[in-house]
């Protein structure tokens, strides 16, 4: 009996592993291998079998790992400006997304009447709008002498357009990232029981006390997921800064695409990509940890 039990369990393990092999294989082939290759290529270790690499412009080719590519890139004031712009746009977007989404999630969860219902269907809209369209819609609306300018002009207010500036990128990122953030924070808030809040009210806790002492501490993991996921998303974005962002300095996403496709400098592009990986490493680890943790509660795994 015990022997057949063990055989059964071994068969189950083998079958289980075989069934998950395909998507895990795709992750290895399309994420792990490219990431490692990008790192070694950016360190000057150029694969000889690749004509495109070895004919790229400004190629650093070395037998041992060298940081020459990074040194050259970071020596450029343009790249340093791009890096700085990328980091602060990302941080600002993340903070704004978190604040706006928290207000919306709280309102949908604890508000009463018809208005929260309207908000509930409103905030999902950007989820179904492709990012290219979102960016283009933002341009047509916010551009200098555009619709918003006309509306403000009609009531006699001055207007400074955020289009083709860093602020345009931030506004569009907030627009685009609201649905995921509210969904995520909302799913955390749903787990907080009404009785808990009511009993806090009964002992005299006001709105702010309840928020600060009960709601926020119980919703830390979803908040971490929102912060990290949004940060990684904004850092690695291309479409929004490409269409509505400034030309110089520009965000890393735009620079990477230009180095890769337009300047024929795949090594520099890959080195910039590895720098993005490094910037997002901590956020990535926290994101994976927090998502895994929150999933433990949601799904019986």
């Amino acid at each position: 009996m015990a022997a057949s039990d063990r055989a059964d369990r071994r068969r189950e393990a083998a079958l289980g592993l075989a069934m998950v092999a395909a998507p895990i294989g795709v992750v290895c082939l399309l994420i792990v291998v490219p990431a490692i290759q990008a790192a070694t290529f950016s360190l000057g270790l150029v694969p000889t079998d690749n004509l495109v690499f070895s004919t790229g412009q400004h190629l650093v080719n070395s037998d041992t790992a060298t940081l020459a590519v990074y040194r050259d890139l970071l020596a450029s004031p343009f790249i340093r400006d791009d890096l700085w712009l990328t980091v602060w746009i990302s941080l600002l977007s993340v903070v704004l997304v978190a604040i706006v989404a928290y207000v919306l999630a709280l309102y949908v969860r604890f508000g009463s009447g018809r208005l929260p219902k309207i908000v509930r269907s409103l905030y999902l809209i950007p989820m179904f709008v492709p990012v290219v369209i979102a960016s283009y819609a933002a341009i047509t609306f916010y551009v200098d002498r555009g619709v918003l300018a006309a509306m403000l002009h009609a009531v006699g207010l001055p207007y400074v357009s955020p289009a083709y500036k860093a602020s345009g990128v931030v506004i569009t990122q907030v627009w685009f990232n609201i649905p995921f953030a509210v969904l995520m924070l909302g799913s955390g808030l749903d787990g907080i029981e009404q009785e808990l809040i009511e009993s806090a009210h009964d002992v005299g806790a006001g709105f702010m006390t309840v928020l600060w002492r009960i709601v926020l501490p119980m919703n830390v993991v979803p908040l971490l997921i929102v912060l990290t996921f949004t940060f990684i998303g904004v850092v690695g974005s291309f479409t929004i800064p490409f269409l509505i962002g400034p030309n110089a300095p520009q965000m890393f996403g735009v620079a990477i695409q230009a180095y890769f496709s337009n300047y024929n400098q795949p090594q520099a592009a890959v080195a910039l990509a590895v720098m993005l990986f490094a910037i997002c490493a901590v956020a990535g680890v926290v994101y994976v940890w927090a998502t895994g943790r929150s999933n433990q509660h949601a799904v019986t795994l």
Partner: protein, 276 residues
Amino acid sequence: MRTTWFWDVPEFRRGLGLILVFGLSSFLLLPLLTLLLWAFADEWRYPNIIPQSASLKWWEWVFTNGDVGSAVRYSFITAPVVTLIAAVICLPAAYSFSRFRFPGRRALFISLLAANAFPKIGLYVAIATLFYRLNLMGTYWGVVLIQLVGTLVAMVWIPAAGFDSVARELEDAARDAGAGPLRVFWSITLPLAMPAIVVAAFLAFLAAFDESQGTLIVGSPQIVTMPTLMYTLVVNYPEPVGAIFSILLSAPSVILLLIARRYLLAGYLAAGFKGR
């Protein structure tokens, strides 16, 4: 009196709610409305809040343009195939994660999140350098693979949650009544997990159909899908062209949304990790 007494005044909170709803709807909807108006505008100059004259002439231009036709074709031969491949490789994995015990199960499940933990543009460039070596740049399968990256998490995680939610008692009861394992799966487990699978397929299709950044890097100039053509249209043509094309590009999302509506409300969206 506490300094935050005003929070507990009903009128204050209702007024705040109104401002919130008004601000949110303006912020979210006005840019989209602007685009919608542009699609039917002929002339729209500052400081007019609405177009001066309407016209459908650009619709004809868009519908007879060869690039647009080719992009529509490429979009519809990539995204459905990506969704199908994602379903074929991910649904068995989702079932396995939900039902079988095997070593490294949780770690492997979590490792799928790697697709979201890397900044997208960096990942795409890294993949593209690999694709050069594999001669996949500018090819159909290169585009299919790059779009596949963004579908994995949704296509495993959401159906796995769906399989988890199927009550084991029902399966046991069917088995007691004499149903074989396959019969139990087809008649009990699969139908009950279907809402989750539909939501996952819906999100996977949208992720593939709307994917623009990776497709631009790996596919162009040979393979130009609708979202990647949008980059060119937006830069090189007057506003109505981009606006009309935006409507065409959002049509599948809206149609699918209406079809899958009752499933989407079932609460699986919260798990919808969009890979962008």
